[in-house]
Structure formats: structure tokens, C-alpha cells
Amino acid sequence: MAEVKQTRIEISDGALIPDRNEKSVFSAWRISFFGAIALLVILPIVKPDPFWDILKFIPDGILRTFQVTVSSIVIALFIGLVAGLGRISRITIVNRIATVYVEVIRGIPLLVQLFYIYYALGQFFTLPPMVAAIIAMSVCYGAYMGEIFRAGIQSIPKGQMEAALALGMTRAQALRKVILPQTFRVILPPIGNEFIALLKDSSLVSILAVSDLLRRGREFASVSFQYFETYTVVAIVYLVFTLFFSKLVAAMEKRLERGG
């Protein structure tokens, strides 16, 4: 009997995926996550100077980091959808444009792209640092998202498109009502991983004078000279967030596997 094929696509790298089989109370994830939380609670109590001061100083930065991350991921999703559709387009010129975009962007380090948009293009027009940061991040991640969309769409069995066409739907209708809804389910975990990777990479925008988490840390450290303490807290805060979101992605994956 013909099984309905389970569609799975490769997970991109760049994120810590908790091991699903680790049921132990002392799983690696738990040790890291609750250890990090414990440090954030204990350190300011044991040594309020400087830890309590640091913790009071960085929330603005956390907010900025999330502003950059969330705005970039939303725009990158949109770019990725367009790029992914372009990559599978049968119209040669559209296909080429999308492919060149993906190849070029993936071939240039994000840090260089940030410099390029802010400083190189800055010779012709000046963008506010925050805007330049979000543009660079979303253009870059849009290319990776494009590949996720492409792989996701191609993982949907071709009988789905054929059945929709055979019913008289246009390709666009079939894409919108049949292919993309199934694609979104398949690509949710990889997109979650891109979100985590973007969250971490967003620390790069601190070089554009965006006061994100890392930048706030630097500001604090350069005044107080307490580099070790400050960057320890910064690192732990990043870790708490990435661990939290990777758990979320894993839970999402599990639910999709169960076919919910």
C-alpha cells in the first residue's frame, strides 16, 4: 500500500539541537540552561558589584538585539519566499536572478556585508545604523531562507501539484492553497534554527554602533574595566536565549513528526 510520504528536509547548521533521546534529569540541555539561569541569579546576589550593575545596564541591549533579530527574520522570510519561488521558477530570467542572489550573498561573510551596506554604500547615502543592520541581516538571511523554501517546496510530492492542476486550479492557486501550506509545516524547524543563528549573528551589528546586547556590554566594560565579569554575563544571556529557542524548535519538530 502506498504510504503517504513523510516529507523531511535537512536541518541547517548553526544551532544547538537538544538530543531528543536525552530523557535524563541531567541532560546536557538542562545542565546548560538551568546552570546559566542559576548563575544569573546567584552572581548578583553574591557579588552585587559589578554583577547587579551589569544586569541593570544591559536590558536595553537585549531589547535592541530582539528588535534586530525579529525585524530581520520577518523580512528575511519574505525575501526567502520570493527567492525560493524564483529558484524553482521555470522562467529562465527569474530563475537566474534568484540563483545569482543566493550564490552571491552566501559567498560573502555577513560581517563584510554589514560593512558594505553601512560604510561602502555610506559614501552615497547614509542609513541610520539600525536600518543598515536590519537590511544587511535580512538580505543575508533571505538567501539562506530562500534555500530552505526551495528545498521545502521541492520536498512536497509532485502528485500534490498534479492533483491540484487536474482539478482545474492555476499553478498560482495550487501553490498558494496546496503547496505552500504544506511547505510551511516542513520548514518550520529549519526556520526556527535560522532564527537562532540570526539571534547570535545579530551581535555583529554592534560594530555599526547599534546598542545591542554585546554593545551595551562593551559600553559598560569600557567604563568599569570589568571585562571578565561583563562579557561573562553577556555570554550567559545569549546562551539562555539560544538554549530556550532551540528547545522550542525541538518541541516543534517533535510535534510535526507526530503529524499534529
Binding site: A2, E162, A163, A164, G168, M169, K177
Partner: protein, 247 residues
């Protein structure tokens, strides 16, 4: 069945190439209104390809196909009109896996025919009842057996009110105990006067419902006749050999 009946489907000199492979050679087939035509032949003989040419899932390399008075040229709107008139049932069901049985059946009437949700759902429930699955409207394909999925797929095709139904080996992916429930639905359809083109090697269905049998080999329509002519008295040596193989 009667010679005077209107021709629903006319396949005229149709050829289909995939690169160098000629999957269909100069096929000529006419199907009258209400006729059930069975297509048999060895694997790779072009049965699926011929069927898929009828609703233009494959483009024709040469020839013409008419559905009543609609001739699909290459214009997209003609092709869509043909697809609205021609329903198709696939070997692997191809139900939309993100939609319930009801959602599968109502999607095309709502998006293509712009029916209201209420209207489309009323029609869908009537069709589900007809295929014996009234209690499964909220089930997703993954929760249905193969036979149930194929019956939903038939209902989904019927929801567009087609004039012609194409079946490409509708039971060959099914466990034996589920074949009958699907064939029964197809037999009902045939009795109600649906024009059908069926690729299948189910002899029971052939004897009970087929008006005509077509034998294809190597892309060629080698022989067309009544079931009695083809099964009991084939003219061609290749037909004989094939039948010995499957009977």
C-alpha cells in the same frame, strides 16, 4: 454505447515524446457519452501518458484531443476549461495532506468555481455519503486507510462535476481487501452514466463495466474492441501473450 451517441472524448493522432522515447504513438481513440473504456497493456506501454494527455498533465507532441466541443490548444484558459470538465484519480491518491476529507473535496469548487463555503460543503457531504464516508469528513488523509483515501479522491474529482473521469490504476496501490470498496464506487459511477477512461487490470471490473477495451503496447494502441473481443478473441499476437500473462 450506441454508435450514434455524442463523442465525449476524441483523441486524434496523438503522439507524445519524452526526449527520444516515444511514449505514445499516433493514438486514435473515441469515447462516447456514458461509455466506459478500459486501457490495458504492459508496464511502460504508455497507458498513463495517454491518460495524462487527455487532461494535459502532459503536453502533446502531436495530434489533437477534443472534449465535447472544447479543443485544448496551447492556451492556458482552454487547458483549464478541459481540466474542469475532466476529473482524474491517481494510483497514489494524492490527497492534499494538510486538509481534511471535507477540505480536500471543497478546495477546487471554492477556488476554481468560486462556490460559497456552505454550497461547497453541502455538495461535499453529499459526495462523501455517496462514497460511503459520511463519518470521515473531519479526518485527515493520514488517518484514513488506502481504500478510504481513494474514495475521498474520487469524491474530490466528482465535486467539480466533470463530464469525463480518468482513472490511472486506482486500485493497484491498495491492499486486496480494500480493492472492492473502490471498485464498487467506480461501478456505481459507470451505472449512473459517467464517461470513464480507466487504466486497470481488474478483470472483474472489466467484465462488469467496460464497454470497450484498448490494448496498448510500446506506445501504440494496438487493438480496440468489446471486452468479449479482446479477452476471448484477440486479433493480435501481442495481445494474446499479454493476456496469458495476466489472466
Amino acid at each position: 454505447m450506441a454508435e450514434s451517441a455524442n463523442k465525449r472524448v476524441r483523441i486524434i493522432d496523438v503522439s507524445k515524446y519524452f526526449g527520444d522515447v516515444q511514449a505514445v504513438r499516433n493514438a486514435n481513440v473515441e469515447v462516447a457519452e456514458g461509455e466506459v473504456v478500459l486501457i490495458i497493456g504492459p508496464s511502460g506501454s504508455g497507458k498513463s501518458t495517454l491518460l495524462r494527455c487527455v487532461n494535459r498533465l502532459e503536453t502533446l507532441s502531436a495530434g489533437d484531443i477534443w472534449i465535447d466541443d472544447i479543443h485544448a490548444s496551447h492556451s492556458k484558459s482552454d487547458i483549464r476549461r478541459i481540466r474542469e470538465e475532466v476529473g482524474m484519480v491517481f494510483q497514489s491518491f494524492n490527497l492534499f495532506s494538510h486538509l481534511t476529507a471535507l477540505g480536500n473535496i471543497t478546495l477546487a469548487p471554492r477556488t476554481v468555481k468560486k462556490l460559497s463555503r456552505e454550497q461547497a460543503e453541502a455538495d461535499a457531504r453529499r459526495l462523501l455519503k455517496r462514497v460511503g464516508l459520511s463519518d470521515k469528513e473531519a479526518s485527515y488523509p493520514g488517518q484514513l486507510s488506502g481504500g478510504q483515501q481513494q474514495r475521498v479522491a474520487i469524491a474530490r474529482a466528482l465535486a467539480m462535476n466533470p463530464k469525463v473521469m480518468l482513472f490511472d490504476e486506482p486500485t493497484s496501490a491498495l491492499d486486496p481487501e480494500m480493492i472492492k470498496e473502490v471498485l464498487d464506487v467506480m461501478l456505481d459511477l459507470a451505472r449512473e452514466g459517467m464517461t470513464m477512461l480507466v487504466v486497470s487490470h481488474e478483470m472483474g471490473f472489466a467484465k462488469a463495466a467496460a464497454d470497450k477495451v484498448i490494448f496498448m503496447d510500446q506506445g501504440e494502441v494496438l487493438e480496440i474492441g468489446t471486452p468479449a473481443e479482446i479477452f476471448e478473441n484477440p486479433r493480435e499476437e501481442r495481445t494474446k501473450r499479454f493476456l496469458e500473462h495476466i489472466l
